[in-house]
């Protein structure tokens, strides 16, 4: 049974950690990098206390590969990192996707490219939703905007990972990870002990050995595997989540996700009070992207402005979604600065005025 717990005042990083443990996390593998250190720090004490395993790996490379091992055993496993660390994990993420192993990967996006800074950014959008590592594959990507949503989505992430036998990424940023908010904790129904039955490695008793692999050398075998993956990704497309705020009567829809979506919401509230008809469309699943819902808004004749904390990445998916009907303008707040609701007033008014 779902059990509602306490009301806590905690950081986004802690909300993610607590949500994962509530979801039945068994193995966490990590490596320190700012701004997500609260996660391995929390896990190092709380996970062993909850009967799980914590390992501070020698590198992000090793941490992500430890995930391969744990995920192959059919247990709930997770790693977390931030941008440069996620780059190092991409080799293993490609293998996880290729071998169809379920796991959760948290990226608290910081500024880049390269070492960049430790401040918030949405510069890892492409890397997260388009694959990131080598080969044809996708990871499910969930982008929480509040600490409560972070808690809730990490629980959902484990279910999705096992449902699709695929890695699921939680994409946050330094704002989400570092801010404190009230979070109501809850524990999902007891996780299914039979998770992974039929494919996980447990020892070959009374049957031939099972092989979890991504190597397909015989003629046509890889093509068959890729077709199966494609069908799986198409299946995932039926599962999308988004928040719509004041979109019904809006002339202009702002498309923004994560922390930026939330800051833009404050701007929209202010502009609404001043009589401007603006609404917010906040994708929560970045892959699959909620294209159909966005298209419906385009069919109603709305205008679009995509706002991101980068040089323009999600705007490509927005344009793809509505391309047969409308276009989207773009405003990029460059990583390296921290936006406030005021920063978005001018670009929104400009887009509105251009009608």
């Amino acid at each position: 049974m779902t059990k509602t717990g306490e009301k806590l005042f905690i950081k986004g990083n802690e909300a993610i950690s607590r949500g994962a443990i509530a979801a039945g996390l068994k193995c966490y593998f990590g490596y320190p990098i700012t701004p997500q250190n609260d996660i391995p720090e929390y896990m190092s004490a709380a996970l062993p206390a909850a009967g799980g395993e914590f390992v501070q790996a020698e590198s992000e490379v090793a941490a992500a590969n430890m995930l391969i091992g744990a995920a192959a055993c059919g247990v709930r496993s997770m790693t977390s990192s931030s941008s440069p660390g996620i780059s190092l994990k991409q080799e293993a993420i490609s293998y996880l996707a290729g071998s169809e192993l379920p796991t959760v990967i948290v990226n608290m996006n910081r500024g880049g490219p390269g070492l960049g800074d430790i401040g918030p950014s949405q510069g890892d959008y492409f890397q997260s939703v388009k694959g990131g590592g080598h080969g044809d594959y996708r990871t499910l990507v969930l982008a929480p905007g509040t600490c409560q949503e972070a808690y809730d989505l990490v629980i959902q992430a484990f279910d999705l990972a096992f449902k699709y036998r695929n890695p699921v990424m939680i994409l946050g940023d330094a704002i989400l990870g570092q801010m404190k908010e009230p979070v109501i904790t809850w524990t999902p129904e007891a996780t299914d002990e039979s998770e992974g039955k039929g494919w996980r490695i447990v020892g070959a008793k009374d049957r031939p050995g099972r092989i979890l692999k991504s190597l397909h050398l015989s003629e046509g075998a890889l093509a068959k595997h890729n077709l199966m993956l494609k069908n799986k990704y198409e299946d995932m497309a039926s599962f999308t989540q988004k928040e719509e705020y004041q979109t019904e009567d809006a002339d202009l829809i702002i498309v923004a996700y994560g922390s930026i979506g939330r800051i833009v919401k404050s701007t929209i509230k202010k502009l609404r009070n001043e009589g401007h008809k603006v609404g917010l469309f906040r994708p929560i699943t970045l892959y699959p992207f909620p294209s159909d819902d966005l298209k419906k808004l385009a069919e109603q004749g709305k205008k679009f402005l995509t706002i991101e904390h980068n040089l323009g990445q999600m705007v490509e998916d927005v344009r793809l979604s509505i391309r047969t009907i409308a276009d989207s303008e773009f405003f990029g707040f460059y990583p390296g600065n921290l936006p406030t609701p005021d920063d978005f007033e001018e670009p929104i008014l400009k887009a509105l005025g251009g009608k």
Binding site: K26, C27, F29, E53, V55, A57, E58, S59, V61, A62, A63, N65, M66, L67, I68, G69, A70, A71, A72, C73, V75, S77, E91, A92, Y95, S99, I201, V202, G203, A204, K205, P208, G209, R210, I211, L212, K213, S214, L215
Partner: protein, 253 residues
């Protein structure tokens, strides 16, 4: 007519299929020893195998156990994940020298140092086999490979790395030894040492490491017999056989 008696058979852990190895390659001998031991020690049903990259990757086709494939060099990290998820299972991995001593150097060192209760068989054939005979960290000085056409030059490429000595130095290692499979006597010794490495895992004493000197006739550009001779004449003098760490020796004393 005298009655026929079966004195030698395929171990149950070994799948009855032809292997893909080149004639005279000793991967097959090392894998056979592992399969015999899994059978004799009753470990087959309890084993989770982590395979690596290189000519060894197809081991999952030859051992009848559950297995997962690791990216190049990362098998010790994958094995760590398997063991942490299923501490009750016997975790075995098998890596070549390019895999373990080059790209995967960090993963092997830290897996050993953490004292993970896993067993790793390390096949040292002084060359990258699968990719066509390039220089490995274990390539001998003067040895010609496709990327050291004039022979390995120590001043530019360093000296060949002696892994079982290095692994033997680490705190988490319970057993580290180097063996060869070039003659019957050495094969018997190799099996004994491999068994020790498996036993320390069963007793949860720490990391078990077996380095097996092996031939790669194809990339050594030698016939099988010449390649086998090279083990005695060139490899063993630089990579001496023997035990570099055995914590059970201390326990039993």
């Amino acid at each position: 007519m005298s009655e026929e008696k079966l004195v030698f058979d395929r171990a149950d852990a070994l799948v009855d299929v032809p292997t893909h190895y080149c004639p005279g390659c000793q991967h097959g001998v090392a894998q056979r020893l592992a399969g015999e031991l899994l059978t004799e020690m009753g470990l087959t049903e309890n084993t989770l195998l982590v395979t690596s990259i290189g000519c060894s990757v197809f081991l999952y086709n030859y051992l009848n156990v559950d297995s997962v494939e690791a990216p190049h060099g990362r098998a010790p990290a994958v094995a760590t994940g398997v063991k942490r998820a299923r501490a009750d299972k016997f975790v075995l991995s098998y890596q070549g020298d390019g895999d373990l001593a080059s790209i995967g150097m960090a993963e092997i060192m830290h897996c050993a140092n953490r004292g993970e209760n896993v067993s790793i068989i390390f096949v040292n054939n002084t060359v990258y086999g699968m990719t066509g005979g390039q220089m490995a960290p274990t390539t001998l000085v003067g040895q010609k490979t496709t990327t050291s056409p004039a022979g390995r030059n120590a001043s530019k490429e360093g000296l060949p790395i002696r892994m079982s000595e290095i692994i033997g130095q680490l705190g988490g290692t319970a057993y580290s030894a180097r063996v060869a499979v070039n003659n019957v006597k050495n094969i018997r010794k190799a099996k004994k040492a491999m068994k020790k490495a498996f036993e320390v895992q069963q007793k949860e004493l720490g990391f078990g490491f077996i380095e097996v000197l092996a031939t790669c006739p194809t990339n050594w550009r030698m016939d099988a017999l010449k390649a086998n001779e090279r083990i005695e004449e060139e490899l063993i003098p630089y990579f001496p056989l023997g035990v570099h760490k055995d914590v059970t020796a201390e326990v039993e004393d």
